[in-house]
């Protein structure tokens, strides 16, 4: 009895999200269209309640629940908080956008909350089965969210593509897991580690299983050579959904990468390091070079994401606590930048007009200097120019990779960063050096403008004072991985 109580306490945040998501789905049926704003309030309340419980039940120690299938450690708490916070910010940014496009409905909020639930389960997964269930919950919600604008052919196409490729990747991941299970006889990550440490890890079936797992992870991250879906889905999905796909799920992907590779398959580190190295270098190269040719802002950000993932992998592949912490720092910075970048697209969009072309940014400095300044910070942060947080993100992963001895890969990465800087600079050029094409005033709700300002200025402020975030990332990794 006590055990069940303990188990339920451990999943209190998840339970909150689950119950509220179902409640929202029901409540939606009984609300008149003009009262739909209540749903928005409920969704925000859910996120805050879950965050409150996450903080409230936090302990520095590592706790296991449900016979070791679920773990509650600092890493999972930190990641859950970041996921909840990021989703909340996303809700603020997308409210008006969804209202103007007739997508402000209960199922949007319910689906997003279910996907948040999926992410939270992934983050806490200690068994391959838990991880897989969380991942599928997240993926299925995202597939349907992409198709939320059901009259748009582009969205449906993107959703179809996403679904087919996503299902394939899930299949690969599951296949890899089954091989590992076959070789070790356990689904529990801790048990897998101890079995692997005793037996010789040079078993071909094991390596094959690892390859499939890494491939599945790479797909979820959007790393080369499994990046094909990223640009199409980013461009085809409604911008608010693109923002969701591009931001918080990366935390969950990071979490399962840590759980599977750094915890479960830790004895195979030397093998997955090489795989990640190849993917990292390819992602940085292809992401940065292809981004130059884009004229669509969303598509450009998609390729920019691919290159960011490459940098993230640099931290992971170092295989040290320092490297994992730097990757966590990178992903946090990346999500902040992505939220700001897509927030800006949403800010400039109006009813019947999507500000998704690069040319839509022309002369922004004359239309609204403050908005242009916020975008300027975001772009320089993405390019990794100090004093923004993007610089420290690149700095931390590169120093971890250098410590692990990948000196030439690091030199290559910084050369690619110069190429990357070009297309971010081009955005700044459009905003500051060109004449505006569009003179309509920018209309957005005050709360959105306010949060977006804080979001972008935080990129600068955290760049001047990065220590706190570094401490959080260091503690999350240090306390959870031994």
């Amino acid at each position: 009895m006590e055990n069940i109580q303990f188990d339920l306490m451990a999943v209190l945040p998840e339970l909150t999200v689950l119950c509220m998501a179902m409640f929202i789905l029901l409540a939606d049926l009984f609300l008149k269209p003009k009262n739909k704003i209540v749903i928005y309030g409920l969704a925000q309340f859910t996120l805050f309640a879950a965050a409150y419980f996450t903080v409230g039940t936090h302990t520095p120690a590592v706790g296991y629940a449900f016979s070791g299938m679920f773990v509650d450690d600092t890493l999972s708490d930190v990641l859950k908080l970041m996921i909840l916070l990021g989703t909340s910010v996303m809700f603020v940014y997308t409210r008006q956008y969804m209202q103007l496009r007739n997508m402000f409905r209960g199922e949007y909020y319910a689906l997003v909350l279910f996907s948040v639930l999926g992410m939270m389960i992934m983050v806490s997964g200690q068994s391959m089965l838990t991880i897989y269930i969380g991942l599928e919950l997240l993926s299925l919600c995202l597939y349907s969210l992409v198709a939320l604008d059901r009259d748009s052919a582009k969205s449906s196409e993107a959703a179809m593509k996403y679904f087919v490729l996503g299902a394939l990747a899930s299949g690969m991941l599951l296949y890899g897991m089954s091989m590992i299970y076959g070789m070790t006889g356990s689904l529990n990550l801790a048990e897998i580690t101890s079995v692997l440490q005793e037996s010789s890890p040079n078993n071909p079936v094991l390596i094959l299983g690892l390859v499939f797992i890494v491939a599945g992870l790479a797909f979820k991250f959007g790393a080369v050579p499994f990046q094909m879906w990223v640009p199409d889905v980013y461009q085809g999905a409604p911008t608010s959904i693109t923002m969701l796909i591009g931001s918080v799920p990366k935390f969950a992907a990071f979490a399962i990468a840590i759980r599977l590779l750094a915890q479960g398959l830790q004895p195979l580190t030397a093998d997955w390091q090489e795989m990640l190295l190849i993917m990292a270098v390819l992602s940085i190269t292809i992401g940065n070079i292809t981004a130059i040719a884009q004229t669509n802002l969303k598509r450009m950000l998609a390729y920019s994401t691919i290159s960011h993932i490459g940098f993230l992998l640099f931290g992971l592949m170092s295989g040290s606590l320092n490297g994992f912490a730097s990757s966590l720092f990178y992903i946090s910075a990346y999500v902040l930048m992505t939220l700001a970048g897509f927030g800006m697209i949403l800010l400039l969009s109006r009813k019947g007009f999507e500000a998704e072309h690069l040319d839509d940014l022309k002369g922004l400095n004359q239309r609204s200097p403050w908005t242009a300044f916020l975008m300027l910070i975001t772009m320089f942060s993405m390019a990794g120019v100090p004093p923004t947080i993007g610089f420290y993100a690149k700095f931390t992963v590169l120093q971890a990779a250098l410590q692990a001895g990948y000196i030439w890969a690091v030199v290559f990465a910084v050369l690619m960063a110069v190429i990357g800087a070009f297309y971010y600079l081009r955005v700044v050029k459009l905003m500051y050096f060109d004449a505006p094409q569009d003179s309509l005033a920018i209309s957005a709700p005050y709360d959105m403008k306010f949060i977006l300002s804080i979001n972008a200025v935080a990129l600068l402020a955290l760049g001047l004072m990065p220590q706190t975030l570094m401490n959080i990332c260091g503690a999350a990794i240090g306390r959870s991985l031994q």
């Binding site: 120093q399 250098l402 000196i407 910084v414 960063a417 050096f433």
Partner: protein
């Protein structure tokens, strides 16, 4: 009393953050509707920032060569990164030059800039603080942050207020500099993993094998050679200079180029002294190519700004030459040359700006006989041209002469090639002056030119005083540099190679 305390103990912090703060205030309060207010506000900010740097002169201890005015606060303990500031006799004159030039730039923009005035003034004020930060940072990452952050305002200045081809020029400027700096960052990270800190002084003590030193030196070289700029990575400079507004050209030539030179002395050479000796032949060759070849390139330019830009590259060749012959005279000559070039190039670009504001052309062929309509201006221009070609009595002579003297001791032929600049420099500068100022008035627009107004006269007069002042009494600079240069050379003479058998 508390505020006085802050001024006394945090001279460098105030020097860095006051202009940045002033820039933010100008950005917030100023606008094109309140143009006059914005300008006066910016002037007040730049003057305050200039006065804030004066304690560096009055309170400097000339008998010591070590770092002074040091400040040290933990910044990012995870990576042992500190907010560590400090200056020696090499940095102080450059900091004073920076804050002085900012005042000049603000005044020079007075009636010229009419679009986005607040942003323009703020960009220069913020840039000034960041550049002083570069000159005073003693922590690798702090230095790197200032170094990179400075690119952002300059990028905007060239791109927003520049000429026709500004976008190409400014993106080229940014990417060139970024490429070099990122390699420098890799070098810093490498050194961090060796020593566990980003303290420059720790790096000075770190023994390194020759291979490591060469790699580190080359990484720094990529960053600084682009900035100085040295042949063959100089091509961004003529583009950037030509397209930049006058203020941008002035700051680029007077200060940004010096950042490269200064950084060689602070980082590349003392961290890797054996590599610096090992590669000195290579560096001297590059310097001589810059001095001779670029001077010839300057000779054939049709655009006045481009000509001065090439002349800058050629003069900066003297600076690197002075560094790499490793003698007290050469080193001090190089530093004097940096300061002197700061004033002369600023003055030359301002003179071109004076003409451009009236005629909207920088082509030499469009002018001729300007002396007839602008006699006072012509007098100034001739003075600065003489200084640029190294006439004794002007500051341009002192540095070049010291470097050439030192070079004679090092190798006669090196000195011989370097000395050709006295001929080529005179040739391209004076030939330009002849074509622009003398001869018949061919262009009817030239006949309508008005001479300097009071504002322009004031700026040029102050700069002329400086050029003559430092030419007659260069001791003002060498007082600062003497002891520091001696210590620097002592440090460079000690090998950092691990002793064999240990």
């Amino acid at each position: 009393m508390l505020h006085l305390n802050i001024l006394n103990h945090h001279v460098l912090s105030v020097a860095i953050w006051l202009p940045i703060l002033a820039g933010i205030v100008v950005l917030l309060l100023g606008s094109d509707n309140k143009a006059a207010f914005t300008r006066w506000l910016a002037l007040a900010g730049s003057l305050a920032a200039f006065f804030a740097t004066l304690p560096l002169y009055t309170k400097y201890d000339f008998s010591k060569g070590a770092f002074q005015f040091e400040e040290m606060v933990q910044w990012i303990p995870s990576f042992n990164i500190n907010y560590h500031l400090g200056v020696d006799g090499i940095a102080v004159p450059l900091i004073l030059l920076t804050s002085f030039t900012t005042v000049i730039v603000v005044i020079a923009a007075w009636e010229v800039i009419t679009k986005n005035i607040a942003q323009y003034m703020a960009a220069f004020l913020i840039m000034s603080g960041l550049m002083i930060g570069v000159f005073s940072a003693l922590d690798g990452i702090l230095y790197y942050v200032f170094w990179e952050a400075m690119l952002i305002p300059m990028f905007l200045v060239i791109g927003i207020w520049g000429g026709v081809n500004r976008v190409y020029a400014t993106i080229k400027f940014f990417l060139y500099t970024l490429l070099g700096s990122l390699l420098m960052l890799v070098a810093f990270i490498f050194l961090f993993h060796k020593t566990g800190s980003f303290e420059v002084t720790d790096y000075y003590q770190l023994p390194l094998s020759l291979n490591e030193q060469i790699l580190i030196f080359m990484a720094f070289f990529m960053a600084f050679a682009v900035k100085i700029p040295m042949w063959p990575v100089h091509t961004w400079l003529p583009d950037a200079h030509v397209e930049a507004p006058t203020g941008g050209s002035v700051v680029l030539a007077a200060i940004m180029l010096k950042l490269g030179g200064y950084s060689f002395l602070r980082f590349a050479m003392p961290i890797a002294p054996d590599a610096a000796h090992y590669l000195s032949g290579f560096m001297i060759t590059l310097s001589l190519i810059a001095i001779v070849y670029i001077a010839l390139v300057a000779l054939v330019q049709k655009d006045m700004k481009k000509l001065i830009a090439y002349s800058s590259i050629s003069h900066m060749g003297f600076v690197t030459l002075g560094f790499f012959i490793f003698s007290q005279l050469g080193l001090e000559g190089a530093i004097v040359q940096m300061i002197s070039h700061g004033f002369i190039s600023a003055a030359m670009f301002l003179c071109v700006g004076v003409l451009y504001d009236r005629m909207h052309s920088r082509q030499i062929a469009d002018y001729g006989g300007v002396v007839n309509t602008m006699p006072i201006f012509a007098a100034f221009m001739v003075l600065f041209a003489m200084a640029n070609s190294g006439l004794p009595g002007t500051s341009g002579f002192v540095g070049e002469f010291m470097v050439i003297l030192a070079a004679v001791k090092y190798n006669f032929w090196v000195a011989f090639l370097a000395a050709t600049t006295l001929i080529f420099g005179a040739a391209y500068t004076l030939w330009m002056v002849k074509r622009v100022f003398y001869g018949d008035v061919a262009n009817p627009k030239v006949a309508e030119l008005k001479d300097l107004n009071r504002r322009e006269f004031l700026i040029l007069a102050v700069l002329a005083l400086m050029v003559i002042g430092f030419g007659v009494y260069p001791k003002l600079i060498t007082d600062f540099t003497h002891v520091s240069a001696m210590q620097w050379l002592d440090h460079m003479a000690i090998s950092k190679l691990p002793v064999a058998g240990l």
